[in-house]
């Protein structure tokens, strides 16, 4: 169902003030007991009108028809616009087609509709409005804080707001439970420092003390670095894994003694040697390598799960041994990540196992346990692990494995970790290769931060030790190695970054300024310090860097050209400046200095990586002029040799940063180079992504509707790009997303009072976005809205010009609707547009809409696709038809076609439609038709459209018209009764009963029961409903009560007699 804008709203306005009607309906519902309502669409705006009309009322007033057929004379006047009708004229179908079909059946019972005086009914049903005195109790009145109380509270100086019910006599149940204070403000009150000082002082102090040592959420965890490293440090060279491991055959049986177990493992090891289990896997691609490592990780878990602890340890040792291998050095950082994952797994397994040993059947160890609580077995196991690891021959595996189970020291002694960390730190000094050692340090810092974040000293020690060995990087051993591997220094040095960044980050986390300054000074003193500088910039607090940006620029300039790449340094600096602001005075100079270097970068990849970061700084602190310059520079660098093709992600991120800072789109599009920049996205998928980003930001930030030609042009172009990307393979979700974005744009376009311009925009939009159905729907709604807007401006009296304009709008809708695919979208839009046309006095156009809708109904399929599921369509059709009937009430007859031609035509279509075999929907619809016809036979209709004469004034209660009407009713009733007859079979009795009762209710509400035959029919129906004991006794009782109640009202005396003829079946 389309959102109730334009059309539904118009009808409501045309009918009556909705607010009062809703109240009227509300009161009727409560008064009526069992309300004889038939099924009706519950949600739609227009449906309620007829439903309220169907409500029983107490009296009717017969008024002599004062006007004859003069209505016919007035008709041509109303239909004056017919001569220059819209394009709908050609599509009109001629006359009612199936007229004979319905009327051909024999009518058994005549219909006499009850005369209604809607005004009187409304007046009688309406609840009396009682003005509410200030301070009176009302359940919906908001709880207010009385003034006096607020004053008292503020005098106390407390922050709590004691809210209580107003000074009403009846206490509000919600606030009374709270005893005057709601729990939230109670918390606020207890959070008062004075109140809580005594109670929670100690615990808070403790927490504060821990605060220093516990890692907060502001510490970037390793997990987030992990993926980045894996993606960045890759290789195309072949790798090898050299594993030296036994093919374990599973340890058989339990060991008889410690000794024999030892002997056996030794023997097994010997066996392994003999079998040549030394596996050397050569020529692995990177992906193979990753897979192998993952397999090892899995086999570690498997070995552990199957209780093969020795095998697990062996796997871990062999894995960590791989870290001493620096062949294919570009891959080393990624290798480190992969292997430390295994180590982490291992550390966790060991810790959990020992932890589980501490759990005896009574108690579980708390998270912060002390070693005294650990039982001997657990301690012994833990010690065994450490002894075993201490005897690993090689240094690197011994270091890594011990570091991985560092946490287990907690089981042995309180000081265990604080003793171990410095020892392990010293141990790293034995690692000769600087790259291997720096990663070992990174691992130690990582484990240290995790296990004992308060032990800062060993972190610092790691850093200073690293500085001591820094000169090794430029030493002969490393240089020789690089020559052998054919790696240049500028690509070798960045391999250190992840590890160093991590170490620096650990140290600088919550570190005092003095420490940072000291570290920086020490880095400065070393030569070739670009590498250090980079890590300082990426790890230290952004504010720290930002305030010293000029110093850093100076230092970067001094760095050796041949060493660490400068663009990386500028990138790191730019990242900091994006986060924190440098001093106001330095800003422009910083940009100039930095950009001077950046623009000289030769390699487009390096350039764009750098520029991407600096764009943010530029956007943040400068105007569109500077941004435009920067964008121009990027274009200049990226265009030669189509370099942009390789760096779409970076360019995309530049765009995102720019639009994130320029919320005002008129400014954004006046940035000279913005659109040329967009032209660099030549790959369609990327282009569409960028367009989506732009539109999302537009929808999010554009507050006011706009008619700025610059924005419109640019965004139309953007939307067109998105739209044109749709093809047969586009996913539904993607289409929905695009349509949502385009709709958001269309809604934001407004030319104010220039309606013509607005319409021509919609015409243009239609031609552009014809492939997206939701956009077309939106356009139709927009145009309908435009028509109603025009009507509002003209206060309902169209001039020649506006009338023509409105017809143009209507024509637009009429042409557009058939291009939609969704059948219910089409139906509902026809209906809505018809209503709008009616409201704007375009009668023939409205006719055309309704006829189109009617002729479309036979095409409604049995099943329709809703959110990817097939659902039966009948309920939707029923809903639509009820809605349609409500509108048909006020549609005036065409002077050249017969009486009630539209209704007849619709009835014909309903008759021919192939309904579901086992459903009563057709009869339900007929019942609704009966309601419609009853409403039509009234002297004055329930609602009208302003300036449109409906049939009541056209015919003025002419007897011929009423006779035609009644004839139709009879036919419909005959159909209903026939259907009831077919339900006499066993399995359908229940349906028969309920349908019968509903029909009974309809007659009760709409029929004139003083007519004997109708009276007899209702009695028969009553019996039918009860005949097979299928009726709900309660409903029957209620209905009867209702009839008796009604009979007491004036002019309803005949109901007393009826009530006597309606027996209640006793439950037997």
């Amino acid at each position: 169902m389309a959102p109730a804008d334009g059309a539904a709203w118009a009808l409501r306005e045309g009918a009556c003030p909705s607010q009062s009607w809703r109240r009227g309906r509300c009161s009727l519902g409560s008064a009526g007991g069992s309300l004889p309502l038939t099924i009706m669409a519950p949600t739609d705006g227009a449906a309620w009108a007829l439903r309220s009309g169907a409500c029983p009322s107490q009296s009717w007033r017969r008024r002599a028809a004062r006007r004859g057929l003069c209505g016919r004379a007035t008709a041509p006047h109303n239909h004056g616009g017919r001569g220059r009708a819209g394009p709908g004229r050609e599509l009109r179908t001629g006359g009612p087609r199936r007229r004979g079909h319905v009327t051909g059946k024999m009518a058994v019972f005549p219909w006499h509709s009850r005369h209604r005086n809607y005004k009187a009914e409304f007046a009688s049903c309406r609840l009396e409005a009682v003005p509410l005195e200030f301070g009176d109790y009302h359940p919906l009145k908001p709880i207010t804080v009385t003034e006096s109380k607020t004053k008292k509270v503020s005098r106390k100086g407390s922050t709590s707001s004691t809210s209580s019910s107003s000074s009403s006599s009846v206490v509000d149940p919600l606030s009374s439970v709270l005893d005057g204070t709601d729990p939230l403000s109670m918390f606020a009150a207890t959070a008062d420092p004075a109140a809580t000082a005594a109670a929670t002082d100690s615990s808070r102090k403790k927490r504060e003390r821990e605060d220093n040592s516990i890692i907060g959420s502001d510490f970037e965890p390793w997990a987030s670095k992990r993926g980045e490293i894996l993606a960045r440090y890759t290789t195309t060279e072949k790798l090898s894994i050299n594993l030296f491991m036994g093919s374990e055959k599973g340890k058989a049986g339990t060991a008889t003694s410690a000794m024999s177990e030892k002997v056996r493992t030794r023997l097994e090891e010997l066996d392994d040697f003999e079998e040549g289990s030394q596996k050397e896997l050569l020529n692995l691609t990177q992906q193979d390598y990753v897979n192998r490592i993952e397999e090892l990780n899995q086999s570690l878990k498997d070995a552990w799960a199957s209780d093969q602890k020795v095998k697990a340890l062996k796997i871990v040792i062999q894995c960590s041994k791989l870290l001493s291998d620096t062949s294919v050095i570009q891959f080393y950082p990624s290798k480190f990540v992969l292997i430390t994952d295994i180590l982490d797994t291992f550390g966790k397994l060991v810790y959990e196992r020992i932890f589980s040993m501490c759990v005896d059947n009574r108690s579980v160890l708390p998270d912060h346990f002390s070693p005294e609580n650990v039982n001997d077995t657990a301690k012994e196991t833990c010690l065994n692990w450490f002894f075993k690891i201490a005897s690993i021959r090689e240094l690197i595996p011994r270091f890594y494995v011990e570091a991985s189970i560092l946490k287990c020291n907690k089981f042995l002694s309180k000081t265990g970790i604080s003793e171990c960390l410095p020892r392990l730190t010293c141990m790293i000094r034995g690692i000769g290769d600087p790259l291997v050692s720096v990663y070992a340090r990174a691992y130690l810092c990582r484990v240290g931060m995790e296990v004992a974040p308060h032990l800062k000293e060993s972190l610092n020690k790691n850093f200073f030790d690293f500085l001591l060995t820094f000169k090794q990087i430029h030493g002969d051993t490393v240089q020789n190695q690089l020559v052998v591997q054919g790696v240049e220094l500028p690509s070798y040095l960045p391999l250190y970054s992840p590890a160093m960044d991590w170490i620096f980050q650990c140290i600088s986390y919550h570190a005092p300024e003095t420490l940072l300054t000291e570290m920086m000074e020490r880095c400065k003193k070393l030569g070739n310090n670009a590498l250090l500088l980079n890590s300082v910039m990426s790890a230290f607090r952004a504010e720290f860097i930002a305030t010293r940006s000029m110093d850093f620029i100076g230092m970067i300039k001094e760095c050796d050209e041949s060493g660490f790449p400068k663009h990386l340094l500028f990138r790191s600096l730019g990242l900091n400046l994006a986060l924190a602001d440098p001093p106001e005075s330095d800003r422009l100079q910083i940009l100039n200095e930095a950009w001077k270097v950046i623009t000289k970068l030769k390699n487009p990849q390096d350039y764009v990586n750098c520029a991407e970061v600096w764009v943010e700084y530029t956007c943040k602190h400068f105007t569109k002029r500077e941004v435009s310059t920067v964008l121009a520079d990027v274009i200049k660098h990226m265009t030669p040799d189509r370099a942009f093709e390789d760096s779409y992600p970076q360019l995309q991120s530049i765009i995102k940063k720019v639009i994130a800072h320029f919320h005002d789109f008129s400014v954004l599009f006046s940035v000279e180079k913005f659109l040329p920049f967009l032209d660099m996205f030549q790959k369609e998928s990327v282009r569409v992504e960028v367009c989506k980003c732009i539109m999302e930001v537009f929808i999010k930030h554009q507050q006011e509707p706009t008619k700025d030609p610059v924005i419109l042009n640019a965004l139309l172009h953007v939307c067109k790009t998105m739209h044109d990307s749709v093809n047969a393979l586009t996913l539904e979700d993607e289409k929905r997303m695009l349509a949502y974005l385009i709709n958001g744009f269309i809604k934001m376009v407004s030319f104010g009072r220039d309606f013509e311009q607005q319409l021509s925009f919609y015409v243009e939009a239609r031609s552009m976005f014809c492939n997206l159905e939701p956009v077309l729907v939106q356009l139709i709604h927009s145009v309908n809205r435009l028509a109603m807007e025009t009507r509002k401006v003209m206060k309902g009296n169209h001039s020649r010009k506006t009338a023509a304009f409105v017809r143009a709008c209507v024509a637009y809708c009429f042409i557009t609707i058939p291009s939609l695919v969704g059948i219910f979208a089409r139906l509902n839009l026809y209906l809505h547009s018809g209503q709008v046309a009616l409201a704007n006095q375009c009668l023939s156009q409205a006719d055309a809409f309704f006829k189109a809708a009617i002729s479309l109904i036979p095409e409604v399929p049995k099943m329709i696709n809703i959110d990817g599921k097939m659902r039966p369509s009948e309920s939707f059709l029923l809903e639509f038809l009820c809605n349609f009937f409500s509108t048909l009430l006020i549609v005036p007859d065409h002077p050249e076609h017969g009486v009630l031609s539209l209704v007849r035509e619709l009835l014909g279509v309903i008759q021919d439609y192939t309904w579901e075999d086992n459903s009563d929907d057709k009869v339900r619809i007929y019942t609704c038709v009966l309601h419609l016809l009853s409403a039509m036979s009234q002297e004055t209709y329930l609602y009208h459209v302003d300036k449109v004469d409906s049939n009541d004034s056209l015919y003025g209660g002419d007897s011929k018209f009423l006779a035609e009407n009644n004839k139709l009713c009879e036919t419909v009733m005959a159909q209903i009764l026939e259907h009831l007859k077919t339900l006499a079979k066993d399995e359908a009795l229940k349906r028969q009963s309920s349908l019968g009762l509903s029909f009974f209710n309809s007659i009760l509400a709409h029929g004139d029961l003083r007519n004997n035959r109708l009276n007899q029919l209702s009695v028969n129906l009553w019996h039918l409903a009860q005949r097979h004991g299928c009726a709900d006794t309660r409903t029957m009782v209620k209905t009867l009560e209702y009839i008796k109640k009604r009979s007491r009202q004036p002019d309803m005396g005949h109901l007393t007699e009826l009530a006597l003829r309606l027996p209640l079946q006793t439950r037997t």
Binding site: S257, N375, L383, I396, I431, G432, K471
Partner: protein
């Protein structure tokens, strides 16, 4: 599998000192009632000596094993002949670790030529039809920690090509200078060996620096004494070309089962555990530099 027999010693690490009370339980479990002719528990402590093939001939080494020396051996009957009910039966036991006469409870030690081992054996005698059940379980004896504070005896050392002993052609050696110190030459066995080592200079790139722990075992027999040095463990303390003039820690945990405090008796000796450092130069197979 029917009946099973198990010994559970109370202490998780199974370590006891002389004079302490060793306690535990013997667990008999089985689905059916167990008929038996008595349950016996034996404590046994022996020193096994083996002659090295290096010092005597191969055959002599094979045949001429020195007779094991018994330190402790006693048996008690825990349960008189009878019947165990089905299910699990725990029979507690305890005995003081005392020796008769002038014998000494040496520390448990598993070496190459000398083995000192203590076992608990539980035997269930059964009728002719069923086999006797036996279960053995090792427990470990440590001598009581020494009284009095140990005075550390630090030692400094310097290794150059000149200090090497077993070199054939001194001229081929690359020049190097390694300095260092050990914090103490006599160590408490439960504490690790610690020290520092600094590579002041080395012509060749260093590949690895290792620390070797060696034991010296001496066995006495009819023909005299046999004295052998064997490696216990080898630990790498530096990998790759370490940074010059930066101290590298020396650190080694003594593997408890395979080392013991220096021990001298009339029949055998277990000598001072002696660490050595080896540096392997990158170019050659590695001339050994020994301390």
């Amino acid at each position: 599998m029917g009946t099973s027999l198990d010994i559970k010693i109370k202490r998780a690490n199974k370590v006891y000192h002389a004079g302490e009370m060793l306690s535990g339980v013997v667990v008999v479990s089985g689905k059916d009632p167990v008929q038996h002719q008595g349950l016996f528990l034996t404590v046994e402590g022996t020193v096994n000596l083996q002659l090295s093939a290096k010092s005597v001939g191969v055959f002599e080494a094979f045949y001429n094993s020195v007779k094991p020396i018994q330190i402790i051996n006693s048996t008690i009957e825990m349960v008189k002949p009878g019947k165990f009910p089905p299910g699990k039966t725990e029979i507690p036991f305890e005995f003081p670790l005392h020796v008769k006469g002038n014998k000494v409870l040496y520390e448990t030690y598993h070496g190459v030529f000398v083995n000192i081992q203590y076992t608990l054996r539980c035997d269930m005698k059964r009728s002719l039809l069923a086999k006797d059940l036996t279960k053995t379980c090792e427990f470990i004896v440590h001598s009581a920690p020494q009284k009095g504070k140990l005075t550390p005896s630090p030692v400094d050392f310097t290794i150059t090509p000149e200090t090497l002993q077993n070199v054939k052609e001194r001229a081929l050696l690359p020049k190097f200078l390694i300095r260092g110190h050990l914090n103490s030459t006599n160590c408490v066995i439960t504490q690790p060996l610690t020290g520092e080592l600094v590579v002041e200079s080395s012509e060749a790139a260093i590949r690895s620096i290792e620390l070797q722990l060696v034991r010296v075992e001496t066995c006495g027999c009819a023909e005299g004494y046999a004295r052998d040095a064997t490696e216990i463990q080898n630990i790498q303390i530096a990998d790759g070309d370490v940074c010059r003039s930066l101290s590298v820690p020396i650190y080694m945990v003594f593997p408890r089962l395979f080392t013991c405090p220096t021990l001298e008796t009339t029949n055998f000796k277990v000598g001072k555990a002696r660490p050595q450092e080896d540096t392997e130069a990158a170019l050659h197979g590695g001339p050994e530099a020994r301390n």
